[in-house]
Subunit: 324 residues, 2 copies
């Protein structure tokens, strides 16, 4: 005997370099895991299918039948209602149908969600349920965020709110991939940290964490880390000024480096904030698995709603007048 | 015979230079008006009482009895639940009780609201009810804003969200009264426009509108207007990037100058926005009376709620889980 029917979900997190999948139970426990490499263009669907089957095949036959929904977290601009990836520069996608084809390939209903929103949902519901109206930032290769008001994420009319990575913090700063100049992402993402260190030192590094490891032994590493914290503090200062959130939650690969970043950001924010008091600046608890857990949350939510409706509204695009 | 009992409200708008009052009916029509000069410190209560009595005394006796609630819109940081002006630099106030003393002096229940929130409420409910999730900016002596999601204003955990005037748009720009540097308010408020023109031309001007009148005849006036629009566009770009609102509504004295500002801001925003499409940039419809009408809306809302509860929650600080 396995889990009762429809009590398990398949969660998939589609990133720019890897595709991760997991079968997750109703208590948010991961039963099986699988991982593969992302592919550019429509072939991403093949990559997703392979990783999905890998995770499903590890289940006992009885459990396989208990999987009732698939949740897909995806980077880029996604339209959850249409089940489409509208655009992803990293994956080379433009209007790719995701939920329809995957439903056909896997024989299960599929729901789609933006990866940062998924990570934020998981962090707020599972990692830090104690926080009121938190603003959750994911600092990795890029920087994105989601703000929660009254327990629900704010999507904006485009579904694309929370683009903290493209708030301009250094008007004369480096060019950003988006076409602007001095975006937070161009100055304070993991990629930007490595780039800046190489620019200052002439030394190539494998990534931001290598720069992090040189703090205290290499003044240039210290300088880069300070510049990064300062830019993040400026971006978050704008958030505090405009939204007055109840907490700032820092997650993603760069924040996972430890308290060094969180501590500096907190101190700089406190020095600079004038209008609104600085809320607690805390570390995300779930780490890099947050996107996967958020996709599982979405799938479980849908599973619960299934008897009522075969196609419920996406949870972060509530109809007018409901909690946002 | 006058209006039926409890169908009229007394609305008061307390600004840095003047106190305005009006008796308003349930159809948002103004029956009487009064105006006086603001005073600094606790004497502001005397000024409010005098102007309030002036507006009430103009009513016929029968209508006087129909006034059932007082709504006070006030600048600075206000705490609607406690009925206190927590701080107002312009009025020299620090923890001044407002609703209690006024209730005693006027013999009517009193509700308090932040003036920009009041103006935004009026604009959204009466001026532009067609807009979805608008971001409303008031550009006057200072710059403040309020964002609406699902029909309700976002207050933030401090009640002080929407401080667009203190978003830094020119990191090396002029000092702001708040202690920061390059805040939008220090570059693009009506006061900043006049100051900048004087700085460039050496000529004193009465105010921003005089600079506006010189556009096309004085290149320096043109330059100042362009700088102002550019700074506003940068501030609003951040709003579009973070919140993806359904519309940007520009109001206040400077926006009332005409389409010149709105047109330039719209064009610059479109040129600069990369991540989210620019929503409609529209002109506020209510003009300088919006704060007064918003105070009247608050008072009418309270009047309607009165039978259910003698002390209803402030409409913009909804309990957790309700529409924000």
């Amino acid at each position: 005997v396995g889990a009762p029917e429809g009590r398990l979900v398949l969660a998939i997190d589609v990133g720019g370099t890897s595709v991760k999948a997991a079968v997750v139970d109703a208590d948010h426990q991961i039963l099986t895991r699988a991982r593969g490499t992302s592919r550019r263009g429509p072939e991403i669907l093949d990559a997703i299918e392979e990783v999905a089957r890998d995770a499903l095949d590890q289940l006992a036959a009885a459990d396989r039948a208990a999987v009732g929904y698939v949740g897909v977290a995806m980077l880029g601009l996604v339209d959850p209602e249409r089940g489409v990836c509208v655009r992803s520069v990293n994956l080379g996608l433009d209007e790719l149908e995701v939920t329809g084809p995957l439903r056909e390939r896997l024989g299960l209903p599929v729901a789609l969600i933006h990866d940062v929103l998924a990570a934020g949902l998981a962090e707020v519901r599972l990692g830090r349920p104690d926080l009121v109206d938190p603003f959750v930032v994911v600092i990795g290769t890029g920087i994105a965020a989601v703000t929660f008001i009254g327990g629900a994420p704010v999507a904006g009319v485009t579904g694309q709110a929370g683009e903290l990575g493209h708030v301009v913090v250094r008007p004369d700063g480096p060019a950003c991939a988006c076409g602007s100049r001095g975006c937070l992402e161009a100055v304070a993402s993991a990629a930007a940290v490595a780039r800046r260190y190489t620019e200052l030192s002439g030394r190539e590094v494998a990534g931001a964490l290598e720069v992090f490891d040189r703090i205290d032994s290499d003044p240039l590493a210290d300088q880069v880390w300070d510049e990064t914290a300062s830019a993040l503090a400026d971006g978050l200062l704008t958030v505090v000024t405009l939204l007055a959130p109840g907490a700032l939650v820092l997650g993603g690969g760069l924040a996972d480096a430890g308290d060094v970043l969180t501590d500096r950001v907190r101190r700089m924010l406190s020095e600079r904030s004038r209008v609104n008091p600085v809320p607690p600046v805390v570390h995300a608890r779930l780490g890099s698995g947050a996107g996967l857990l958020g996709a599982a949350l979405l799938a479980h939510d849908r599973l619960t709603e299934l008897p009522a409706s075969a196609s419920p509204a996406a949870p972060h695009q509530a109809p007018p007048g409901t909690v946002r």
